[in-house]
């Protein structure tokens, strides 16, 4: 799975996700990537999220929207919200990770797998590319 989240000059947030799914999946199986609120979510003033992992867990936990809801209603920070969502996923033995960005351009990318391909350029303009 691949994905991207952005904060543009107008202060608007956007998110996108694209995937081939799971190896050896049954024909017709759909994961979280095309499910708005699960694998992808963006809301101005709150956050933008794109996920990757075992999609059935991401759908049941409505992962993208859960990050936003924790921030919007619970006043959590991006890091607190994203980490809590991944921790909840781990409790259920769900595997994967997310990239998330907030309205101030802060980026966070938690995951519970051995690695996750990820890269970002924050408000400082520095390019970061990480795998493990």
């Amino acid at each position: 799975t691949v994905g991207a989240v952005a904060l543009d000059k107008e202060g608007h947030l956007a998110a996108g996700t694209s995937t081939g799914g799971l190896t050896n999946k049954k024909a017709g199986r759909v994961g979280d990537s095309p499910i708005i609120g699960a694998g992808t979510y963006a809301e101005d003033g709150v956050c933008a999220v794109s996920g990757t992992g075992h999609g059935e867990f991401f759908i049941r936990n409505v992962v993208g929207h859960d990050v936003a809801a924790r921030m919007k209603y619970g006043k959590a920070t991006l890091v607190e919200a994203a980490d809590a969502v991944i921790a909840r996923l781990s409790e259920q033995k769900g595997v994967g990770g997310i990239i998330a960005i907030d309205a101030q351009g802060r980026v966070h990318a938690p995951f519970n797998t051995p690695g996750m391909f990820r890269a970002w350029i924050g408000t400082d303009g520095q390019v970061e590319v990480k795998i493990f």
């Binding site: 799975t1 691949v2 994905g3 991207a4 989240v5 952005a6 904060l7 543009d8 000059k9 107008e10 202060g11 608007h12 947030l13 956007a14 998110a15 996108g16 996700t17 694209s18 995937t19 081939g20 799914g21 190896t23 050896n24 999946k25 049954k26 199986r29 759909v30 990537s33 095309p34 708005i36 992808t40 979510y41 809301e43 101005d44 933008a48 990757t52 992992g53 595997v95 994967g96 990770g97 997310i98 990239i99 351009g105 980026v107 990318a109 797998t113 051995p114 690695g115 996750m116 391909f117 990820r118 890269a119 970002w120 350029i121 924050g122 408000t123 390019v127 590319v129 795998i131 493990f132």
Partner: protein, 172 residues
């Protein structure tokens, strides 16, 4: 507003899964994609444009599980899904079960911007792609030898066990 941009290329990869050469190649494509998206924002492009530009690079690379290089179904075929969401309006578009559209993220954007719908699947979504002249490829174009081998190994392992390690191998 300040600008910021982030991408991912999938979770589940372990150090043993990558040779130094493969890791270098993955890092190169990730850097290219994140820089392309960021450059779009820097020049005044919208977040939606930046997201699509970066994802197209990752979809076109056979190194990641999207577009060409997607993992295979049990039947040995490629079925791709994608979505996009605009935080400004809460408009969203998504597609599932795509087999011929080269860049499913562009089709998700068409669903969002050119139809009153949010999610379209299969033949209807493919027809929409043709209607909007999106680039298509033969279904075999998306299949890489690496993913054929991965499917073979997954089918062999699934017949015996399904450990967390197997799940990691399957999600990437």
């Amino acid at each position: 507003s300040p600008i910021a941009f982030a991408i991912h290329g999938g979770a589940g990869v372990a150090p043993k899964d990558l040779t130094p050469e493969q890791e270098a190649e993955c890092r190169k494509v990730l850097a290219q994609a994140v820089q392309e998206g960021h450059a779009t924002l820097k020049s005044g492009g919208s977040g939606l444009e930046a997201v699509q530009k970066a994802i197209i690079i990752l979809e076109d690379s056979p190194l990641f599980n999207a577009g060409r290089g997607s993992v295979l179904t049990a039947a040995g075929t490629v079925e791709m899904d994608a979505s996009i969401m605009d935080g400004r309006t809460l408009q969203a578009g998504a597609v599932a079960g795509i087999t011929t559209v080269r860049n499913p993220i562009l089709l998700a954007n068409v669903v969002m911007t050119k139809t009153p719908h949010v999610l379209m699947i299969g033949a209807g979504a493919e027809a929409l792609a043709r209607e909007h002249a999106l680039k298509t490829e033969a279904p075999e174009w998306f299949i890489t030898p690496k993913q054929m081998e991965k499917l073979r190994r997954a089918q062999k392992k699934s017949a015996v066990t399904l450990s967390p390690e197997d799940i990691w191998m399957r999600v990437g």
